[in-house]
Symmetry: C2
DNA sequence: GTTTGTGAATGAGTTCACAGCA
DNA sequence: TGCTGTGAACTCATTCACAAAC
């Protein structure tokens, strides 16, 4: 497969949004969608939609729009979502437990295949369908499961170590919920979500 | 208080990061910090740090740097974090429960003061210190608690309605975890975090 | 008439570079 | 010498505008 072109990260985020739009009830039964339609549903301009798609080829027909199923297929392929990608979760605290149970992931094609923790008290406990495993098993289990994505829901002090363990296990994509800067191993892509910081940013726009 | 200037949203995010850096163990005991130090800890260039701060005044001294305590005070004031801001949470499902228990919020000065749900089965149950209340009480409770921020952890279908209820209750800042586009009432700031989309974006950078 | 794809123009944000102060 | 604050230069993303296709 040809490597994906370098495009703005904001554009990647929008592509994921377009894919979601194409999977909504609203479009069921439709054969074609226009860039204007997608844009309206995604909250961006039609120009932006066309520009984003144009990085990857010509998917539409002038005067008609985009073939719904075909565009969905192409977006899934572009985002590497044409196969189920098992993910492993490290950290079975309150946030980790919620992520393991979160119904939003399966709906969007992600399966949390295993959960790990370092606390012996948590190892062996059930989390929905899954049993919490010790983090020492990480490397072996990643290989067994063919996991390609890691999710980190541990306290800040443990984060750097977990990133390195996930990288050593061969994972190249990590979603991190621990705040703070992480040194990212070569060839690994880490995306961080700092929940408290989101609240802090909101506060900026408050009056008084 | 003078209204905050219009600056890039990315800059607001960075300011929040600087504030976190200044609150870390690493800086304890220090009297001054340089833009280079802050930048290294936050993962941005020293220039960027100075530019971001320059929107709000001159806080540093050439040849010396920034007075640690003073800069922390100013950043907290800029981000409107100089007082505790009670938040209300709507949705007591798996994600909502985790957010209610999440220790990362109190550490950063946010207190979840009440939790609401529409499901009678959930109303009355305990979530840590809090008891889940019916969403009909939202408006009254927001006023009682003096809450200024709302957090939405409900399914997508309920999201728009909850946004409107929170807006009607007088809240002007909302952190939304439901995917999908929301129509934002005038004067309200909604910030959305789509957890599944984060995974989708990561997948783009995977090989093969 | 409608809608795509894309080069050109615009605009926003970051980096540079340096004057000025400690 | 070390570090800040800031206008100028630059880079990069978005918007515009239009030719070509349906």
């Amino acid at each position: 497969m040809s490597p994906n072109p370098v495009i703005p990260d904001t554009a990647v985020t929008r592509l994921a949004t377009y894919l979601r739009v194409l999977s909504e009830r609203q479009v069921e039964g439709r054969l074609h969608v226009s860039s204007a339609f997608i844009g309206a549903a995604a909250g961006v301009s039609p120009d932006q939609v066309r520009k984003d798609l144009s990085h990857f080829g010509e998917f539409g027909r002038p005067g008609v729009g985009y073939d719904l199923e075909q565009l969905r297929y192409h977006l899934a392929r572009i985002l590497r979502l044409d196969r189920v990608r098992p993910a492993v979760l490290v950290g079975a605290g309150s946030l980790g437990s919620a992520l393991a149970r979160y119904t939003g992931f399966p709906q969007r094609g992600f399966r949390i295949a295993a959960v790990f923790d370092i606390d012996p008290q948590r190892v062996g406990t059930k989390l929905g369908e899954l049993t919490v495993e010790h983090v020492d098993c990480l490397s072996r289990r990643v290989a067994e499961l063919g996991a390609s994505i890691g999710i980190i829901a541990v306290p800040r002090w443990a984060c750097q170590s977990v990133v390195e363990q996930l990288a050593a296990a061969g994972l190249q994509a990590i979603l991190n919920f621990a705040p703070g800067k992480v040194d990212v191993p070569e060839g690994v892509n880490v995306r961080s979500v700092d929940l408290a910081r989101e609240l802090e940013c909101l506060a900026y726009y408050l009056p008084g």
